[in-house]
């Protein structure tokens, strides 16, 4: 039950984040460039790709097919690992930024708090890992067939 809730929660978070970002690729591009990790071409690619990847990963978590759920959780694990790595990298380099993770940008331009971002991302990483590795009792229905 807890893992099912975790799965629904992750799906909701990722679908919401995607729907907030998909309409605004220009803001997403600026946010990606703020990390100073990739050049502009890759920032444009990421501005279009990441929101859609988040959307399909979130939707995959709701699919009634077990491998798709695991695949979606695996992709989210990968995305969160990437996000955490670039956050730590930016923090270590003393960069201040707005991550734009949910498409919100403060009007006063105040930078995000890296500690809060990392705690949030680590929490999502743990949830995704739990969904991927542990699955749900209903998923592992091999025993019920015996």
């Amino acid at each position: 039950m807890i893992l099912k809730l975790a799965r629904y929660f992750l799906a909701a978070v990722f679908i919401a984040a995607a729907l907030l970002k998909i309409p605004h690729p220009e803001q997403m591009k600026t946010a990606i460039q703020g990390f100073r990790v990739v050049n502009e071409s890759w920032a444009v690619f990421g501005a279009y790709f990441f929101p859609w990847m988040e959307f399909w990963a979130g939707a995959g978590l709701l699919a009634p097919i077990i491998p798709v759920k695991r695949a979606a959780a695996f992709i989210i694990l990968g995305l969160m690992t990437l996000f955490i790595a670039v956050l730590i990298s930016a923090w270590a380099r003393g960069i201040t930024l707005n991550c734009g993770c949910f498409g919100f940008y403060p009007s006063n331009g105040a930078p995000d708090d890296f500690r809060l971002l990392l705690v949030r991302d680590l929490g999502l990483w743990i949830l995704a890992a739990a969904v991927f590795w542990r699955g749900e009792p209903a998923d592992t229905d091999w025993h019920s067939k015996r």
């Binding site: 998909i22 220009e26 279009y48 790709f49 990847m53 959307f55 995959g60 695991r70």
Partner: protein, 196 residues
């Protein structure tokens, strides 16, 4: 409770939920590939349907116009490379100065030494999908004295297009830098990001 039922119960309690076989692992890999492919297709379609979204729909100022690589050579202009310093070091248009928003403060001094009032400026970046040339051109327009007649050009297709136009018979572009870059490796469709 029969022994067989006890066995099922024990297996239910103790069975590792992480245990999924090779075929299951493959189905997860295939599903992940399908999800990634879906995301790529949607992102590509999104980009093709809304190519202007990145430019915020703003029209270019009158002082900034786009120019083809074929026409740019005749302008006798100062070339401005709006790509990263790394890309500039690797290869660039002969005589170009590197000027990016990121390192504007110290790169602008080099630009100011190279530019003479009245001289046209051609700005280029990575290719059709890049906006750095537009951003640098707009910042240049606001940074240069308004009393001067300023004409700034943005190179259509960016550096890859320039390389295509200056391709040597051996397939190498005529760029300046630490190494010559093969046109076939560098160039890509820059018209609309290959959407047409």
């Amino acid at each position: 409770m029969s022994n067989s039922k006890k066995g099922i119960l024990l297996r239910n309690v103790n069975s590792p939920k992480t245990d999924f076989g090779l075929s299951s692992a493959w189905s997860v890999v295939l599903s992940a590939s399908a999800l990634i492919a879906l995301a790529m297709v949607c992102a590509r379609a999104d980009y093709c349907l809304r190519p202007a979204a990145l430019a915020s729909g703003k029209p270019l100022p009158a002082e900034i116009v786009q120019v083809d690589a074929a026409d740019a050579g005749a302008l006798q202009a100062l070339w401005v490379d709006a790509r990263s310093a790394q890309a500039y070091k690797k290869s660039h248009v002969p005589g170009a100065v590197n000027l990016t928003l990121r390192d504007w403060d110290f790169q602008f001094a080099a630009f100011a030494r190279a530019w003479r009032p009245g001289k046209a400026i051609v700005v280029y970046c990575d290719g059709g999908e890049c906006l750095a040339s537009r951003e640098v051109a707009e910042k240049l327009l606001s940074a240069l004295p308004r009393s001067q007649k300023i004409k700034i050009y943005i190179l259509k297709g960016g550096y890859p297009e320039w390389q295509n136009k200056h391709k040597k018979p051996d397939g190498q572009a005529d760029g300046v830098g630490g190494q010559k870059v093969g046109v076939d490796q560098q160039s890509h469709d820059t018209s609309q990001g290959g959407c047409v």
